[in-house]
């Protein structure tokens, strides 16, 4: 703990109240956040870029809006963006050497919307290269460390955003989730991570990894805060061809609704032999809390769910190999020196610019899409994806929400899983299903194994974010796991 609790360590909801009461200004709050970021950067490495100058200008503008009586609920609150979101005039590296010199010429829609709501961008957070990883160890800018234990990983790929919020350097950060990249780091750092329904939040300006799985979302200290951010981020965007044109409900209005009669489904596939017994004990205790809140528990089965990891490792690399074909050394990104010819320009720029894991995924994708293998791998995987999707649809005929662990273990040591890619991939065994089926998912802290936090995962039907946030918020009213702070904070 810091010598005295800094003002910037509050929640989004708490800071909004304090700003509206005039307890401090946005400039004071932003200065405090920037000072904490500078102090913790050598230990956590959570940021790739800190935008101190523009942040203070934005904060001053926010204070001006407030004085003019034009402040909204998020005006003047500091925020960090995962470095996968394009930010106009600011380095947008995606954690890669390939984009280590890329200054985005426009803002992502998520960035535009949060800026319009008056939030103050303090910087861009570190991440696994091109969001490919579950430990933040594939970043070109070095690993991020977990504020609960500096020898441990924060999870990934949104590890910088997670560590920044867990250490309360910022009250909230944006993140993205292709196979668990919001929920798994939320679990490993003891915070709240929301991956909305596919299509709920615009992907425009969000650097693509696997376009049928990628979804932007939030990392915050509470479900209440996630509701405040999602309110602004969600909604139709004509610039994203998969953005869904459905009304955005008032996510805060239903947060406190009682849980009497809530039916919770427990897929037996979520409680398999891979789940660390200590984590299972904490998950079961959380389920007991939900029973006290009026919910009922139901054993269910999603029989195809054990095939979600192999399905994902066909679909995601296939889409990645197509998406990352744009990095050719011509229009943007790393360009090799003295290319002999066009083929040499492509091959060396890509060979030098991409890191080991990104190359592995590109080659896996190239292989499964290559002549003679397409039917056996890609087509087959899309059929199994359909089966997994149907399993969830059938489950939601019987229950309102599915619960289970977010991750099989708490945070692991740096370097513990870097030798074998399969060991690393299995970190996402409980989160990938929601991506394959396009479902919203949420992770909330539900206790500690030793000194490390453990996450409870909630998965709901398409567009049930309001219900998921309500279910998470009621638990956070009854418990205080989400309010615990790491010693490093």
């Amino acid at each position: 703990m810091a010598e005295s609790r800094s003002i910037s360590m509050g929640t989004v909801a708490g800071l909004a109240k304090a700003l509206s009461r005039g307890e401090f200004s946005s400039v004071e709050l932003t200065r405090d956040s920037l000072a904490r970021i500078a102090r913790e950067q050598p230990r956590l490495n959570a940021f790739v870029t800190v935008t101190a100058e523009s942040a203070l200008a934005e904060a001053a503008a926010a204070d001006g809006l407030r004085q003019a009586g034009r402040a909204g609920p998020l005006t003047g609150i500091p925020l960090a963006h995962k470095d996968i979101f394009c930010t106009d005039g600011v380095l947008t590296s995606c954690g890669s050497k390939m984009l280590a010199n890329f200054v985005a010429p426009y803002d992502a829609t998520v960035v535009t919307r949060l800026k319009a709501a008056g939030m103050v961008t303090v910087g861009k957070t570190n991440m696994d290269e091109f969001a490919m990883g579950s430990s933040n160890e594939t970043s070109y800018f070095g690993p991020v460390r977990n504020p609960w234990d500096l020898e441990c990983v924060p999870g990934g790929s949104s590890g910088g955003s997670a560590a920044a919020v867990a250490a309360r350097l910022v009250p909230a950060a944006t993140a993205t989730d292709t196979g668990g990249s919001i929920r798994q780091p939320a679990a490993l750092t003891g915070i709240t991570g929301l991956k909305p329904t596919y299509g709920r939040v615009s992907r425009y300006g969000m650097i693509a990894f696997a376009s049928s799985l990628d979804q932007g979302g939030t990392l915050t200290a509470s479900a209440e805060d996630a509701a405040l951010l999602l309110q602004v981020m969600a909604g139709f965007d004509p610039r994203d061809s998969t953005s869904v044109d459905l009304p955005v409900p008032d996510y805060s209005a239903t947060l406190a609704a009682p849980l009497q009669g809530l039916r919770i489904g427990l897929p037996r596939e979520f409680f398999d032999k891979g789940l660390e017994p200590g984590c299972e004990t904490l998950i079961r205790a959380a389920l007991g809390e939900y029973q006290r809140l009026g919910a009922t528990l139901h054993d269910i089965s999603c029989p195809n769910l054990p095939l979600s990891v192999p399905t994902y490792y066909v679909v995601a690399p296939a889409e990645c190999s197509s998406n990352l074909a744009r990095f050719d050394g011509v229009r943007f990104g790393h360009r090799c020196a003295n290319p002999k010819n066009l083929a040499d320009l492509y091959r060396r720029s890509r060979g030098e610019g991409f890191g080991a894991e990104v190359k592995r995924r590109i080659m896996t994708g190239t292989y499964v899409l290559s002549a003679g293998y397409y039917d056996a791998y890609y087509l087959k995987a899309q059929q199994v994806r359909q089966l997994i999707s149907r399993d969830f649809a059938q489950a939601f005929e019987q229950v309102d929400v599915i619960m289970g662990p977010t991750s099989p273990t708490p945070a692991f040591k740096l370097g513990a899983k870097t030798d074998d890619p399969i060991t690393m991939y299995l970190n996402d065994i409980y989160t990938i299903g929601a991506n394959l089926a396009g479902l919203p998912g949420l992770s909330i802290p539900c206790g500690f194994l030793g000194h490390l936090p453990v996450g409870l995962q909630l998965v709901g039907p398409h567009f049930s974010e309001a219900r998921l946030l309500n279910v998470a918020h009621r638990y956070q009213l009854a418990t205080d796991w989400h309010a615990r702070l790491p010693g490093a904070a």
Binding site: L342, R347, T366
Partner: protein, 96 residues
């Protein structure tokens, strides 16, 4: 199924990726393991199952009228390019 060194070299060629001598055996090993992992899909019975084409059931890709909405900003975009001349991206000579 095990991948060989020529397999990896062929895949790297298709993906336009230059690999170093040291990288090739690493990918022979790890891609063999990944192909083993995804081989589990063979066990699934998928006869008559429609391959999933969109993560949301019933959704189809939206179309828009073919109208120009963006303004010309090529100078701004080309600031990120390695080599540009007279508004054109430069690449090594293609025709010898």
């Amino acid at each position: 199924m095990s991948l060989s060194r020529p397999d990896i070299e062929r895949i790297a060629q298709l993906a336009r990726l230059d690999l170093t001598e040291q990288e090739v055996p690493v990918y022979v090993d790890s891609l063999t393991r990944i192909v083993g992992l995804v081989g589990q899909l063979e066990s699934a019975v998928t006869t008559g199952i429609e391959p999933m084409a969109h993560p949301l059931p019933g959704m189809v890709q939206r179309l828009r009228p073919d109208e120009v909405l963006e303004t010309d900003q090529h100078e701004r975009y080309q600031r990120n390019a390695g080599q540009v001349q007279a508004g054109l991206y430069l690449v090594p000579k293609v025709i010898e």
